[in-house]
């Protein structure tokens, strides 16, 4: 062991914005690859669309606002917003879905509030809500896991469906989404919502072909992959443990209690934690350093609040998944949470 004498600064961790954003993006890679494995090449094309529109919009806004262009463009924050939105929208959504969403996210949610660090709302989630409210059909047209699909899609077919709405053989998106029995396949949470409204019980719904022992086919592994990416971020200390733990803990606890009280009242805890955007959001969306709470106690409250909101919207609301709405609602409470959870400065205040 050598004791080198070095002058300050002694910490030389590279924690510039650009590096942090790049690490978050690389942590998404396992999730993206798993998504591509189960749901086809669409996600790559959506990534290309969203990320290029994000860069272009950021450039145009900065130019218009007379802000330093190079510095903001190279901090990778716009790219990350594009990436987060691209993995949230259905892989075969028409190209303009991603384009409109990213344009809205960067121009209105981020730049209109003053650029990076100034936005109240999470840009990717605000854009997701805009798209979901505006284009409910396209935004819920998820494909079933590829093992359930009747028609195989190659890269060219995927591209052609995104650009024109039809594959090269002329199949429409609706036909692609149908299973062998001709019934349209939905996402696990979507199926639960529709079937419960139609009067089925939870257990009947969970025996549909899109489920595998009560958890969504494909979705389980996608969630797992995002979990791996999230753990990597935790290890790298890019994000703190408070938000993911309190979010997942609250959601899991609520489903566990509900199921203990009424066995047919909700899906299993595992179903809730591995479907929809739960895992992805816990590590990649909620932990957005700009729009999330910034005190340690505040982070716990913030995560728990979103967990609670997600649970009640999934359980009683009209939309199948609720992460985006819950995040936006919680974003609004962040100034209040931060205000009341300010840690006391040592030596000041009472005890």
């Amino acid at each position: 062991m050598s004791f080198k004498l070095a002058s300050s600064p002694h910490t030389r961790k590279n924690n510039k914005t650009a590096f942090v954003m790049l690490t978050v993006m690389s942590a998404c890679i396992p999730g993206i690859l798993t998504q591509a494995y189960f749901f086809g090449f669409g996600v790559f094309i959506q990534l290309a669309i969203c990320m290029s529109v994000a860069l272009f919009t950021e450039y145009a806004c900065l130019k218009w606002r007379n802000k330093p262009i190079k510095r903001s463009l190279t901090d990778n924050s716009a790219l990350l917003t594009g990436l987060l939105l691209a993995v949230s929208i259905p892989p075969l959504a028409p190209w303009w879905i991603g384009a409109i969403g990213t344009l809205f996210a960067i121009a209105l949610v981020k730049q209109a509030y003053g650029g990076l660090g100034q936005n109240i709302f999470n840009p990717a989630m605000a854009a997701y809500v805009l798209l979901l409210v505006s284009f409910p059909l396209s935004m819920t047209s998820w494909l079933p896991a590829s093992s359930l699909m009747v028609i195989d899609l190659n890269f060219y077919d995927t591209l052609s469906t995104i650009l024109t709405g039809y594959t090269s053989q002329g199949y429409s998106l609706e036909q692609l989404r149908s299973g062998i029995d001709g019934l349209t396949m939905a996402t696990p949470l979507d199926a639960i919502k529709t079937n419960l409204l139609a009067g089925y019980t939870y257990n009947e719904t969970l025996s549909l072909p899109i489920f595998d022992n009560g958890i969504g086919k494909g979705w389980f592994y996608v969630s797992l992959a995002y979990l791996v990416g999230g753990l990597y971020l935790l290890k790298k200390r890019i994000i703190k443990w408070q938000i993911p733990v309190s979010f997942i803990g609250t959601l899991g606890f609520l489903t566990l209690v509900t199921q203990a009280v009424n066995a047919d009242g909700t899906g299993s805890m595992l179903l809730h934690l591995t479907s929809g955007a739960t895992c992805f959001a816990a590590f990649f969306i909620l932990t957005d350093p700009v729009s999330a709470a910034t005190t340690n106690k505040g982070r716990l409250i913030y995560g728990a609040l979103i967990g609670f909101l997600v649970f009640i919207i999934r359980q009683f609301g009209g939309y199948p998944d609720a992460v985006a709405f819950a995040v936006l609602l919680a974003n609004m409470t962040v100034p209040l949470i931060d205000y009341y959870t300010q840690p006391k400065v040592f030596g000041h205040g009472d005890k």
């Binding site: 209105l108 805009l130 409210v133 505006s134 284009f135 409910p136 059909l137």
Partner: protein, 234 residues
């Protein structure tokens, strides 16, 4: 500027009820989802505002100060009832589309605001002109919002014109583009908030630019001297 010009400038731009005073936003945001709805409600508000300003100005010397607000509200409510019955009689379909927002004109703060702030202190001529200009300012913003939201949301213009103008207007609808999936948010209330926010931003931008031009001209004419006197210490 003559008083009449000043009033017009205030009503249409500088003190616009929708963009600057931000009064009466509830009907403004709720019914501006098509141009015709916006125009219909804008006209109704314009007539009520004109009538209430004239009436309030006429009775201003007889109304005791303590009970002026109830009196103004009674006058406005009476006029709104007249408009409501007229619309019920002549533009029944539009009356049904606008629904609760016609009676709600009574609670439109822009109207009681003008009665209190202007009509109760000025003569009939000025009050009438003020009502007309404020009403026009409100109407223009309603129509502008309606156009933006209808074009973005439906790709059409003047759809449902026959509701307001009768059967001769059945073919006035202009279809700018056809789409299977409409941009729903533009028609839903969040779209109204976003569009109004953008309109206000555009107006502020204009004002800044005009101000910069005026200041620039002044600067060119006079050399500026930095002097600290009692006048500019605040």
């Amino acid at each position: 500027m003559s008083p009449l010009q000043e009033i017009s400038w205030q009503g249409l731009w500088k003190n616009n009820p929708a963009l600057v005073q931000m009064l009466g936003l509830c009907p403004l945001l709720a019914v501006s989802n098509t141009t015709i709805n916006g125009l219909g409600l804008g006209l109704a508000t314009l007539f009520v505002l004109l009538g209430s300003n004239i009436t309030v100005s006429l009775v201003r010397n007889w109304v005791p100060n303590e009970i002026r607000i109830p009196v103004f509200v009674m006058i406005i409510a009476g006029l709104v009832t007249v408009i409501q019955l007229l619309m019920n009689a002549y533009t029944y379909a539009l009356y049904q589309t606008l629904g609760i927002f016609i009676p709600l004109i009574v609670t439109n703060c822009a109207i009681i605001g003008r009665a209190e702030a202007f009509a109760s202190k000025n003569n009939v001529k000025l009050a009438a002109w003020d009502g007309l200009m404020m009403g026009l300012g409100f109407l223009l913003i309603l129509v502008a919002l309606g156009i933006v939201r209808e074009v973005l949301g439906n790709g059409t213009l003047f759809s449902g014109a026959h509701l307001l103008f009768g059967s001769m207007a059945t073919h006035w609808q202009i279809t700018l583009f056809e789409t299977n999936e409409t941009f729903l948010i533009a028609i839903l209330p969040p779209g109204a908030f976003i569009a109004l926010g953008l309109l206000i931003a555009v107006k502020n931008k204009f004002d800044k630019r005009i101000e910069a031009l005026v200041v620039g001209e002044k600067k060119a004419k006079t050399t500026e001297r930095a002097r600290v006197t009692a006048d500019n210490i605040t």
